[in-house]
Symmetry: C2
Subunit: 324 residues, 2 copies
């Protein structure tokens, strides 16, 4: 837990250094999924960047090169989905050893290009250099109608809390990948979810357009780590019903709930909906399951109800400053 | 020279993978200082990103933390200056060891904040993680009137070639920094130019606004490395007059010309001007010297005239894939 504080304090330090005195065109800077930058008329730009580092976010001897290419972009675009916006283009800073500029780079670029096309996000430019480790940083520019972006702040007492898709499979996939020898095969569902996450762009845009969600974010570090962030931004608490968690193919596993509560890399959307609008949320959106998993509370605590007992939900998701 | 080819081939590989089939809103993707992305009405966005990596771009035991903060942003903003555009905001991906989150980070943020204010470029967001080495990637968003951006392509046979400021001092500063023990002091002019480069934003914007330059770029890797890039983009050659190079405080040094031809990190602007407009270029622009250093030629060769002999100019500037 000490280390978890370190990342927060690092971000706070940066916030303090920049004093948050942002201009009229910069609406949301730090502390949300992405920043908003107002275009002069009508639209607002959404800006976000994400690391994808060997040893921290992927393992060169385990992750297929094309999954590294897919995931580094998909992960950054997921922050655009989390604002209900439309991705436009991206910049890529890339460092890699000369020994990987052949077959590995071909595989990487093939995955990156597939993601670029699937997500409608064009490569706009970048910077390359040589390094012993593979280092990737992706910056994505998205767009939305002014005022339409869904933020983390906005959840209110009594709102229902929803998640898209299933939770925990990506974490199981990572476990399997770690156990296996050599480059991962992708025949396994959980592993595929870990390797090729699909940002929920259509759902995010639909929720924003229909003004159905009061707050939204994507689940990248695990529900138990991300939910407190949404609650902190909104100044509320939440209670999760562990029985309701959509665990997908994990349903018969003993620790399915633990994986769903704490597992990272799902890239599903977490969003709150005002009580009066709950019936407008369909069970499925274009084949993607939407599940109510709890509700927003006035008291600023994050609780979980499991086997009829309600206890505080400990953050045990992924945090780089805590280590893995 | 083999390794120099490697970086080019890496970029070509990326270009090929993405097939350069860019949408209507993405005007210039790879191969210039920055990408252009059309806003819906009137303005055009300029997008660029740059690495700033420990061991590659700076040395933790030599570079003051606040110079690392200043330079990582100044360097990226220089690409916005090179398009004649106005910086707006930036995203920062940052990785650092826990041991540097105290005093070092304070110094870094102080330099970064000074640069942010001096260059009019706000922090919009970022991503942080833990790592043994300090890794920084900066993405900058700038803006310009549509069609006004100055590109590398556009230089024509007979155009005069200009540079701003002085060349070679930053390289000398780097040499001095390498020789010295411990963190560099900044009392020395050359060293200060290496540590705190000033992107030529006003000059770039003035040249763009007055449509004086036919092509432009910033000098980051050294004249002998960068000039061939401008010439290649324009489909021309160039001849440099070594006697005319503005070497500033190096004037009495034996290898002043070599430093000016090959030294990196100057962040001055290199631009071509049609013959008929040469007299409209002042000797000084707001205290910044502008010097004609050669001319554009039809024949696609890069030549240098020194002591009345004209010879091919070899690229000996900084290239990460060649090593230092």
């Amino acid at each position: 837990m000490r280390r978890k504080q370190d990342e927060k304090s690092l971000i706070r330090k940066i916030e303090r250094a920049f004093g948050y005195k942002h201009g009229k065109r910069l609406a949301l800077a730090l502390g949300d999924d992405a920043a908003l930058w107002a275009e002069k008329r009508g639209a607002e730009l959404i800006l976000t960047c994400d690391w994808f580092l060997e040893g921290t976010h992927f393992l060169r001897d385990k992750h297929p090169a094309d999954a590294v290419g897919w995931k580094c972009l998909a992960r950054a675009v997921s922050d655009i989905a989390a604002m209900g916006a439309v991705p436009q283009c991206f910049l890529m800073s890339m460092a890699l050893p000369e020994s990987l500029t052949g077959e590995w780079l071909d595989g990487f670029l093939s995955g990156l290009r597939r993601a670029s096309r699937a997500l409608g996000c064009e490569l706009a430019g970048g910077d390359t250099t040589r390094r012993d480790d593979v280092l990737i940083s992706i910056a994505v520019i998205g767009e939305t109608a002014r005022g339409a972006a869904l933020r983390r702040a906005g959840a209110r007492n009594g709102d229902a809390l929803f998640v898209s898709g299933t939770l925990g499979e990506a974490e199981l996939g990572l476990r399997e990948l770690r156990r296996a020898h050599g480059i991962a095969s992708t025949r396994n569902d959980a592993l595929r979810k870990h390797l090729y996450p699909r940002p929920r762009l259509e759902l995010g845009q639909w929720l924003a357009k229909n003004r159905l969600a009061t707050a939204m974010m994507d689940l990248s570090d695990g529900l138990s780590t991300d939910l407190p962030r949404l609650c902190a931004a909104s100044g509320v608490g939440a209670r999760i019903d562990a029985d309701s968690l959509p665990v997908g193919s994990l349903t018969n596993m003993r620790d399915a709930r633990q994986l769903a509560l704490h597992g990272g890399d799902d890239y599903e959307l977490l969003f709150s909906v005002a009580k009066k609008n709950v019936r407008r949320v369909p069970k499925e959106f274009r084949g993607l399951r939407l599940t109510q998993v709890g509700e927003i509370t006035r008291e600023r605590k994050i609780l979980v109800t499991e086997n009829r007992k309600t206890v505080p939900l400990e953050s045990r998701g992924w945090d780089p400053f805590r280590g893995t």
